[in-house]
């Protein structure tokens, strides 16, 4: 069982997974885009601008999910000192930053026709901007600190402090009066979104998940090679 998790087995598994995702990605992307841009109906109030939801919502979900994973692994790394979690976090952080930035940009593009403004210092928008800043600080800790032990400590502290912002983002629309609408999709309880819009949204979420997995695997593979390169130098 533990032999499966050896670096060489993980490396070989990553290579196979990258090939698999590459082979199915474009097909799922085309299906997702067809549903999002052609087959899904316009909203009765927002019209066709609702289609922005199909890129905005998955971006926001992935931005939040990435930071939650980073926090969890940082806590586990703090307790159990498993260095692999640090490399996983290092590979996830740029993906999280990308999707959080995209959620803010696409949200702004959706806000202009819907609310009449590109930006408002609203609780949801501001807390998302704070999340983006935490990602920036987290990534900067890798770039600016040379000592690996110090980097692990500093980045873990940033992740744990930043995690306070996650429930604030989630519940900001319930706690404060905001321009942003409340959640339409709930894991527990009934969702208020019609299946004609839910299906394209889930398809686009799958596309985003596959893309995130692909980038993560390539970045993690790069980290493994970087470590092996260091080991060669020791010979």
């Amino acid at each position: 069982m533990f032999k499966f998790f050896s670096a060489s087995n993980i490396y070989s598994f990553i290579q196979k997974l990258i090939k698999f995702i590459n082979s199915i990605f474009f097909l799922i992307l085309i299906i997702g885009l067809t549903f999002a841009l052609v087959l899904s109906p316009p909203d009765y109030i927002q019209g066709d601008s609702v289609r922005i939801m199909y890129v905005h919502v998955p971006s926001a979900w992935l931005g939040l999910a990435s930071f939650s994973v980073i926090t969890l692994l940082s806590i586990l790394n703090f307790i159990f000192k498993i260095k692999n979690f640090y490399f996983i976090n290092k590979s996830i952080a740029p993906i999280g930053l990308l999707f959080t930035s995209l959620a803010i940009v696409t949200g702004s593009l959706w806000g202009q026709p819907t609310w009449g403004t590109w930006w408002a210092w609203d609780a949801r928008l501001t807390s998302m901007l704070i999340l983006m800043l935490f990602y920036v600080f987290y990534i900067l800790s890798f770039k600016l600190i040379n000592n690996e032990e110090t980097t692990i400590k500093v980045s873990s502290i940033i992740a744990i402090v930043g995690s306070i912002n996650i429930p604030i983002i989630k519940y900001s629309v319930d706690w404060w009066n905001t321009l942003h609408q409340p959640a339409s999709i709930k894991i527990s309880g009934s969702s208020s979104i019609h299946s004609a819009m839910l299906v394209p949204l889930l398809l686009m979420l799958l596309v985003f998940l596959l893309y995130a997995a692909l980038i993560f695997l390539m970045k993690y593979k790069t980290e493994i090679i970087r470590i092996k390169k260091k080991n060669i130098k020791r010979i």
Partner: protein, 77 residues
Amino acid sequence: MIADFLSMNGYGLYVWASFSAVMISCAVVYFRTKKTLKKYEQEFLAELQALTLEEKSKVIENSKIAQQILATSTKSN
């Protein structure tokens, strides 16, 4: 019909700008990540080639990852 599809009832600018921003950013990140990975693979191979024959065979014998990188580079060449 194509003009209607592109205009999206007046929301075309916002919809296409959103989808384009996502597509372009994701494509840039994908190609940059791929380029970095290739760069590290090449550097790893170069350092492997710089070793003496004895050291090289020792590394290849002990590291399955080195074997796999070597195999991938031979295939792509």
